[in-house]
Symmetry: C2
């Protein structure tokens, strides 16, 4: 088992987007920029900074264009933003962003309720988005949400996840990120669904995106590592809740993932304490504790240094 | 990998002892009894209810004798209490408890600082405790603390853990519980140390006791399950902090473990929501949120029921 673990993992930071869009309070544009620019100095190479969705749908991210335009480029760091449609893509192109992400799901009901299209419709839109983005030198990532369990339909079939992942890759996304949107998956779900996907796609085309609603996110990461997956989406401080369970935990905390990787001798290039200090920027503005275990620990005395 | 997972897991509840001894506020005796008796109706078969330590050392558990004497027996549930020495054993015998636990560690400095003896001295005391307890029909469990990392010495050798575990078993404990006292272990530590132990002892003699200080507890459980370990110590609500890192997370939450086991089809016989309701008894008296992910989720809307 040990031998199959990857030597290097890419930590894909989604806190400024997935984290902040699920916070009830809106964070000021200046604070977002400070947060992102501090994250860019931690060794992270991928940061999803915002979403070009309708400001009516997600008022927390209404300042998407301003955020991206005011960000300073950092060598070795790729900034990315979610783009739901061609209208969003126009703003994304105007902003000068290097990478975008499109977002669909493996559950028909979830897609319907979230973006008021069926899965087929969402893929048609994304085909246009991808074809329009590429000539601008913008790379595209794809999210497959509800990859394990859907809040409306329950169990999601591994065949559906594989089918949508393959189609997104054929359309030109460079990687699909399979999301456990409501955080209900167990390591056996990861073995089953991602194991099936790996029979059809190479491991470097697959990222995993876990929420910690049910406390299984880190165990799921370990199951993913054992399958050879080497990209994981996390959120600094464990920012963000779950829109389907107010008060529940958000994404797996970036600091927590880095701790485990460091301890296991898996290289990520990201500095744990630097991410903690970036999270502090947001914690201070939100005036609240953040859910990541490391965030809580670093706020107290470090047992390893006592 | 799947085939090696156990079909049944024993959840060893330590919230009333390990949880409450690390809380700053003292919980009233009546509330403790209500908490324990509610836990006894959840399907749990093992509950560590208190510790017969010196009331000066741990004032939170000064009412140990009263707690045990007032508890109603529940069919199928074994109550247990920590016993540090012969003086504690006298009170344990007087209380009528069915099971006790002795507590040493695999790190010399940790044992010195905790119980002001060296490991050899602690084993000599426990030999007397075990020999005196057995004729009273009291079974004995053994804790090996700092099984992976010591807050003072750093890395702990797997050979030391195996040596102390073997000696405790030879002295008559029915099971050793290997603790990640400061919650710093990763799944690879579990593979290394517990893998080594399994070369010398059968799996049913070994329990694992994880704290979630660094966010790795559930991943460590999964690593333990993959090795065939089938007893895990957890705390209802994730009660209790880490005395070496004030503010940090406590034991792995019982509710969180049960969720993952249920989802993986591993039988525990314990009802998740019933444990949550038991945790509520303590949350209300402490007037605070509890760290278990499930506790937070159940306090909000259940996404699977929406």
């Amino acid at each position: 088992m040990v031998s199959s673990l990857p030597e290097h993992v890419t930590v894909f930071e989604v806190g400024p987007r997935d984290g902040l869009q699920n916070e009830f309070e809106t964070v000021s544009t200046g604070t977002k920029i400070r947060f992102i620019e501090q994250l860019a100095k931690t060794g992270l190479t991928q940061i999803e900074v915002t979403s070009f969705v309708s400001p009516k749908a997600i008022p927390q991210l209404a300042d998407a264009l301003e955020v991206v335009m005011r960000l300073h480029a950092t060598r070795g760091v790729t900034y990315s933003a979610l783009v739901p449609n061609l209208k969003g893509l126009e703003r994304a192109i105007e902003s000068g962003i290097q990478q975008i992400a499109v977002f669909t799901a493996a559950s028909e009901t979830f897609v319907q309720k979230n973006i008021r299209m069926d899965i087929e419709g969402s893929l048609r839109v994304f085909k246009e988005v991808i074809d329009t983005a590429k000539p601008h030198g913008i790379s595209v990532r794809g999210y497959v949400s509800t990859g394990f369990v859907c809040p409306y339909e329950g169990e999601v079939s591994k065949e559906k996840v594989a089918e949508i992942s393959k189609r997104l890759l054929e359309m030109g996304v460079y990687q699909v990120s399979i999301g456990d949107t409501i955080g209900a998956a167990s390591p056996l779900d990861v073995q089953k669904t991602i194991g099936h996907l790996l029979a059809k796609l190479p491991a470097d085309k697959i990222a995993l995106h876990f929420h910690d609603t049910y406390g299984t996110a880190m165990a799921n990461v370990y199951a993913g590592l054992q399958l050879g997956i080497s990209t994981f989406d996390t959120s600094a401080g464990g920012l963000g809740g779950c829109p389907y369970a107010p008060g529940a935990s958000g994404n797996l905390g970036t600091e927590d993932l880095i701790y485990m990787l460091d301890r296991m001798g898996i290289h990520s290039g990201v500095n744990l304490e630097a991410v903690f200090h970036a999270s502090e920027v947001i914690a201070k503005e939100l005036h609240r504790e953040l859910p990541s275990r490391q965030w809580k620990r670093l706020r107290s005395k470090d047992p390893l240094k006592s």
